[in-house]
Amino acid sequence: MILGIDTSLGSAVAVVEPDGVIRSEVRSLDPRGHAEVIGTLLERAMAEASVTPSDITHVAAGMGPGPFTGLRVGIAAARTFALGRGLPVVPVVSHDAVALELLLHSALTADWGFVGDVDDGAAETFAVVTDARRREFAYTLYRGIDDDGLPIRVAEPALVPRDELEAALAHAEAKRRDADHIPAAMLALAAARALSAGRTISHADALYLRSPDVTLPHAPKRVNPLASGTPGEQRTPVPAERQAYQQQRDEA
């Protein structure tokens, strides 16, 4: 039984059987509050699946991309849940879950060419697009599904300014597919398929895609206009930690 956890975009938890049968999926769309809801989502997902922690064999962790404050909550939770039971963590690129859902849907309804044969060029390229805050999108390019039933990533997750996304997608000849949540059941399913194929499908580190925001402190600014000869320069510098605080609040 695979427990899927993702907090890269809202918070979601699912329980999926190794053969892919979805036992439960619960989520909170609150873009904040990941730390508040993660415990109850874990309990609810297991209760709805009629399983206990001892039934779980693997924990699938959504590694992002996603705004980092929230993203970390799910990764931390996945790691400690697994630690508590001595289980392996299976890291999954969060966008893979969205891509897998689109591909399965496409296969069922045959409405897009997303699942066409990759080799003969029938499969269309599409981009999973999520809000990365700070006027940026995170996007990942996919084309088709492979023999293991996993979406084929043709470009790794990347950030793009919002007003440059269309140009980037036109250049890649990719259809745009926006996601407002990550389906945790698809995340767990991707993990199940990776496990049965014996493959690793994501790095074990969080996909922040951004360096931490820090501005190096300036040399201490003059506080004494007489001594420094720069009248009016009375403001004490805003220390780096306060600036980062501010930015972190914007981020969250």
Binding site: V73, F81, Y208
Partner: protein
């Protein structure tokens, strides 16, 4: 659950130390700390995002190290404990998410507790010391906080008497070190520089200590004015083309900080007729602060308690110790519905206690 001598694992991620502690009752079994301090050094202060990323990476290895050191298995635990606040929001959230999932995974109760009260609880782990007597005044000084508390009972009654209105004392050390060209963290550097200096050389101001301040801010602290005064003094020297006597500046600055901390703490003891003072927080590692506090307390008939210095900096053992006290006092676990509260008031010793 063993309520007589509970086995508790505590997770602390409120600032830049990933602390995992394991206690059994009042016995310390492990105090594992991974610090991201080096990563902050070039920024001259704790960068929240850098700290939060480091917590995520350090958590699992730290828990494993604490288990190895204590020789216990997670399945043996009676409860999991975590800091809910106060602290840096993004950093706290890592610990809260981790603690919740660990508790759910182990099917064990979870206790969400107050970081500041944890600093006081560190004292109960001191096997050498007699039991903590109530009430006691507690002075907590670190890079993140400067608080004066009246503790009537560790698990039920902690009152905030005063706190810093701007910088924490530890932050003031970092900032003054920076303007003297000394590296981060500033505390030990200022100490080293001050060793050969004259603490009376420069009469730096004592924040919020004028008669006019005492009405509204009798137990509050302010260090930003002191920092500015040091900056101004140094600049005037430089402008006059004179060398800056770093040792004297460091010693005089440190004396100003220590003086105001000890003066206000002892005033609280006197005003509340409490002849006991507990010191906690990372800045207590400053020898001069301990010396002055002990010297002046003795003169006023106040007994000073200082937890082992390894338990004064932020750590998970104090969080486990506080939770152990809560369990022994019969308190119910927290629900799973709490978050990181960066401004959690000290009166909230436990968060989200279940009904």
């Amino acid at each position: 659950m063993n309520r007589a001598e509970p086995l508790v694992l505590g997770i602390e991620t409120s600032c830049d130390e990933t602390g995992i502690g394991i206690v059994r009752g009042r016995t310390l079994l492990s105090n594992t700390i991974a610090s991201s301090m080096d990563e902050h050094a070039r920024y001259g202060g704790v960068v929240p995002e850098v700290a939060a990323r480091a917590h995520l990476e350090a958590l699992q290895p730290s828990i494993e190290a604490a288990l190895a050191e204590s020789g216990i298995a997670l399945a043996d635990l009676d409860a999991v404990a975590v800091t809910s606040g106060p602290g840096l929001a993004g950093a706290l959230m890592v610990g809260v998410g981790a603690a919740k999932a660990l508790a759910v995974s182990l099917e064990k109760p979870l206790y969400a507790v107050n970081h500041l009260v944890g600093h006081i609880a560190a004292d109960v782990l001191d096997a050498e010391a007699p039991p903590l007597e109530y009430p006691t005044v507690a002075l907590l000084v670190s890079g993140g906080h400067t608080s004066l508390l009246l503790v009537r009972d560790l698990t039920t009654d902690v009152e905030l008497l005063g706190e810093t209105m701007d910088d924490a004392a530890g932050e003031a050390f970092d900032k003054v070190a920076r303007l003297l060209g000394l590296p981060y963290p500033g505390g030990p550097e200022i100490d080293r520089a001050a060793a050969s200096g004259d603490p009376k050389a420069i009469p730096f101001p004592r924040g919020l200590s004028r008669a006019s301040d005492m009405a509204g801010h009798r137990y509050d602290f302010s260090f930003s004015g002191l920092k500015t005064a040091v900056a101004r003094w140094v600049e005037q020297r430089e402008a006059a083309g004179e060398p800056v006597p770093v040792a004297d500046v460091a010693a005089s600055f440190r004396e100003a900080v220590v003086d105001v901390l000890v003066t206000k703490a002892l005033a609280a003891c006197r005003d509340h007729d409490v002849p006991r003072l507990l010191l906690g927080g990372g800045v207590i590692a400053n020898r001069r602060l301990r010396e002055v506090a002990l010297e002046r307390a003795v003169a006023e008939g106040v007994t000073v308690r200082i937890p082992p210095l390894s338990l004064c900096t932020d750590n998970g053992a104090m969080i486990a110790a506080l939770t152990s006290e809560l369990i022994m006092a019969g308190r119910a676990p927290s629900t799973l519905e709490f978050g990181a509260d960066s401004t959690l008031p000290v009166t909230e010793i436990q968060v989200a206690e279940s009904a």
